[in-house]
């Protein structure tokens, strides 16, 4: 990362209501540069909602979301998100990446180079000219990662990026996420897959019924969750 940072991201008593129900309840936390943050919790805990609020796709019903780094005004352009089901435009794989770069107003010459680099890093060079929608689910998710990576985000949000993939594709995605992190991007990812959390997590935010129950280093969280819901989740008991 060159220059000033947009991190940390501070959430202050963030709530989200829909149809009269409180889906996120007073979440306060800070996401700092460095560790890969995994948002854990059973289905319906509010993980995806929290991620969307952090990324700015949803506005909280109450509370504040604030990028506090010196470059905070550029926050919108310096983050990216990968969704559970990638949405590919009806054009080639390379053109999908180019589209994202065009939105960032990159000059044409730079774009071609970045597109090629992103495809190469995600192992998609051979598929560059294939229609993106004709790719397999795993290839599409790698392309979504390539598209996000090409914009060189400082923060990358990932919402259950492997939830609908087979193990081989999951492994490929995890390796790319790891490479993106090593290249200096902050990772914030939701998953309900404990094994994945153990493999990828440095820091864990555990959500249950819309509340942030625990925030700890992954090592400590998995060694001994302090709350009953987290303990039950780690042991694989059903939570509701």
């Amino acid at each position: 990362m060159k220059g000033a940072t947009i991190l940390p991201l501070r959430l202050d008593s963030v709530c989200y209501d829909a149809a009269g129900k409180r889906l996120l309840d007073s979440i306060s936390t800070a996401l700092t540069a460095g560790p890969r943050t995994l948002i854990l919790g059973p289905n319906g805990a509010g993980k995806s909602l929290l991620l969307r609020i952090c990324h700015g796709l949803l506005q909280p019903s109450a509370g504040r979301v604030e990028w506090q780094g010196p470059a905070a005004t550029a926050a919108r352009r310096r983050q990216a998100m990968v969704f559970q089901r990638p949405v590919m435009l009806r054009r080639s794989a390379a053109a999908n990446i180019d589209y994202a770069l065009k939105l960032r107003r990159l000059p044409r010459g730079d774009r071609a180079e970045r597109v090629a680099q992103a495809l190469e890093r995600t192992g998609l060079t051979a598929l560059a000219h294939q229609p993106a929608r004709a790719l397999s689910g795993g290839e599409q998710q790698r392309l979504a990662l390539a598209r996000a990576w090409a914009t060189r985000p400082e923060v990358l949000f990932l919402d259950e990026p492997t939830a609908s993939l087979d193990p081989a594709a999951t492994r490929a995605v995890e390796e790319i996420v790891d490479a993106i992190h090593r290249a200096g991007t902050k990772i914030v990812m939701t998953t309900h897959d404990l094994g994945q959390a153990r493999r990828l997590g440095d820091e864990v935010l555990f959500l249950h019924q819309g509340r942030l129950i625990e925030q700890d280093s992954a090592k400590r969280f998995f060694a001994g969750p302090r709350s009953e819901p987290a303990a039950a989740f780690v042991e694989g008991r059903l939570l509701w």
Binding site: R52, F83, R91, Y99, L103, R104, P131, A134
Partner: protein, 234 residues
């Protein structure tokens, strides 16, 4: 029954010998309707996409209005355009009444709502799928218009075909603003109406056959092209 068969026979002869009058009428019909559809597409596609994407007060009312306008009666459109273009009308100075241009204008009025209403539906459905991803990438709704029209291109061909179907088949509007003047504003539908009432069935029948054949050919070609393109793009 015998007369009927004879009429068919002479209609076939007119087509096969490619009668000069008939060719002129077919050419003018195509020129008017294709021009009208092209202009209506240029207006209707962005208009429909904008109504689908841009939040403004009265957006739902606009959507309802577009759908309602799909069923505009051609004769009423013809009458209104006639009033606008007639000597005493606001656009009378242009001297366009009873010219092919007047017919194009009337058909643009008829066809634009059809293309816009279908485009609105197509783009709205696509937006439901794309919204989060595009907003995440940093696309504003206004800038998304071009993206979604391009991504909806296979479905939007249907909108344009529907518009062409309407333009080439209607008789009321072009009759009123064109005046059905021989060698000037006479098109297939107005000729069929006129010749049928005069009892000259062969020319009417011949044109009817051509009109249907054209419509079939254009739709089949578009369908095939769409199918091929869709298969290559999923």
């Amino acid at each position: 029954m015998f007369e009927f068969a004879a009429a068919f026979e002479r209609a076939a002869a007119l087509i096969l010998t490619w009668d000069a009058d008939l060719a002129e009428i077919v050419a003018l019909s195509l020129q008017v309707s294709l021009t009208a559809v092209a202009i209506a597409a240029l207006l209707g596609l962005p208009l429909g996409a904008a109504v689908a994407l841009v939040r403004f007060p009265g957006r739902r009312a606009a959507a309802v209005l577009l759908s309602a306008l799909m069923g505009l009666p051609p004769v009423v459109v013809g009458l209104v355009v006639y009033l606008m273009l007639s000597r005493a009308g606001p656009l009378g100075v242009l001297g366009l009444l009873f010219t092919p241009t007047a017919m194009v204008i009337a058909q643009v009025v008829l066809v634009t709502p059809i293309i816009a209403a279908i485009a609105r539906q197509v783009v709205e459905d696509l937006w439901a799928e794309y919204e989060e991803q595009l907003r995440s990438l940093g696309t504003t709704p206004a800038r998304a218009i071009g993206t979604l029209l391009w991504d909806g291109r296979f479905s939007l061909v249907t909108a344009i075909l529907a518009g062409f179907g309407r333009a080439s088949a209607e008789v009321g509007a072009v009759m009123i603003v064109g005046g059905n003047i021989d060698h000037v504003t006479r098109v297939m539908t107005t000729t069929i109406a006129l010749e049928t009432s005069k009892g000259d069935l062969p020319l009417a029948l011949g044109l009817g056959i051509i009109l249907i054949a054209l419509s079939l050919t254009i739709n089949a070609a578009a369908f095939l092209a769409q199918d091929l393109a869709r298969r290559s793009q999923q």
